[in-house]
């Protein structure tokens, strides 16, 4: 069927045939080290929204890389929505440039990746009830509340959402290595709890 074909071609597999997690979102912060006048920024910049009663920051968006930034009056910026670490840094620099052009003396200080979100597909259905039963110390599975199982791995400290279709969301990582290690750890576990399709 067209569906399964496209899902397989979208995923990257390493030489052993095992799928690799793909980054979907990078959240980073940077300190511009300068107090900002949010009202001025909101009035003069394009694509900026500022509702001081709702939230105390300017929400600015740029088209390339497609990202959203929260700019606070302390001069700190949170940049979300980038697909890679390099894009996130590029976007943060662009936001800093926009603020600079509005007349503030900015420095690009302490750029730090705060969160990486990756998704993956192991291509086989998983029995979440059995997985939750055997890994009760790490897994939370409440089908009434959420269809996915929430697996909190301790080393590395990563949270994973595991769905019955075999799709995975890995989040909470500060580095790419953590995502890869977490996936290395969980892959054999998932394979041991897969559901084999019986053709009767």
């Amino acid at each position: 069927m067209a569906d399964t074909g496209s899902s397989e071609s979208n995923q990257v597999s390493d030489p052993s045939g095992r799928p690799t997690p793909m980054l979907q979102n990078v959240v980073s912060t940077v300190n511009l080290n300068c107090t900002l006048d949010l009202k001025a920024i909101a009035l003069h910049a394009r694509n900026a929204e500022y509702n001081p009663r709702r939230f105390a920051a300017v929400v600015m968006r740029i088209k390339e890389p497609k990202t959203t930034a929260l700019i606070f009056s302390s001069g700190k910026i949170v940049c979300t929505g980038a697909k890679t670490v390099q894009q996130s840094q590029l976007a943060a620099r662009k936001y800093a440039r926009i603020v600079e052009k509005l007349g503030f003396h900015v420095n690009f200080r302490d750029f730090k990746i705060q969160n990486l979100v990756a998704s993956c597909n192991v291509l086989v259905p998983i029995s979440l009830t059995r997985l939750a039963c055997h890994h009760y110390e790490h897994a939370t599975y409440e089908p009434e509340l959420f269809p996915g199982l929430i697996y909190r791995m301790r080393r590395p400290k990563i949270t994973m959402l595991i769905f019955p279709s075999g799709k995975l969301v890995i989040t909470g990582a500060k580095e790419r290595v953590e995502i890869d290690t977490a996936f290395e750890n969980i892959y054999p576990v998932l394979m041991s709890f897969r559901i084999n399709k019986k053709d009767k």
Binding site: P125, T129, C133, Y136, P143, E144, L145, S165, I195
Partner: protein, 312 residues
Amino acid sequence: MADSFCPDCKRPTEVVFDHSAGDTVCSECGLVLEAHSIDETSEWRTFANESGDNDPVRVGGPSNPLLADGGLSTVISKPNGSSGDFLTSSLGRWQNRGANPDRSLIQAFKTIATMSDRLGLVATIKDRANEIYKKVEDQKPLRGRNQDAILAACLYIACRQEDKPRTVKEICSVANGATKKEIGRAKEYIVKQLEVEMGQSMEMGTIHAGDFLRRFCSHLGMSNQTVKAAQEAVQKSEELDIRRSPISIAAAVIYIITQLSDDKKLLKDISLATGVAEGTIRNSYKDLHPHASKLVPSWYAKKEDLKNLCSP
């Protein structure tokens, strides 16, 4: 008649106990060793044919170890007739004005009792819910949340721990004003708190369709045959790869089984009894229909009857 040491005779002598005055008397020299001893035998005589409404042996309600003072219900009342002196009339006022440390706790216990009454739960579940609430009571992150949601979540956890789970929707129906989302969030938080306090001994298993099936069937008034068939079908459905909530699967199984029987239940009735939306039951039916021959027990319906099952 007992042996005790008499100070006058300076040796152990035989001692007589006089019940009328409560005296312990030395039989040799007549010295009273102990006077006014307290009689600890029963104060009242209760007869079998007397009404059990006032049992004079016990005073007050059952002691509740969860409350600070054990639930003592002694109050100082105003004296009858004239007010008397200042002290006696003020004592009553002062006792009631003082802040009772347990007031919020008692109020919470009362709410839990009302909720469990509406659901028809046994006292063990209610007591467990009270214990859970006491453990998480009055913690800062919980302060912001809806009080009803927290109490509902305590009740939900208590039901799960006693292996008699209730769906969140059922708990929602008796908790005034708490939404499913709020109860879910409160439940996650309380479970985390309990794990921290009790050190990892919280193992609430995942819910299964079979846990709820019996109750849903009796809400619908299904016959014993159909109930047994439904239970067997649900057992078999656990092995299939169906990605739906266990409650929806239970509802769909009930639908299949009742459609095969003489007493067909409407989707509307099943939806009311289980709390699952009609559309969801229809979709779950679509998922289960291909496996109907595997699910329905052979003693209940033959292959031809299965063909009569309307295709979704």
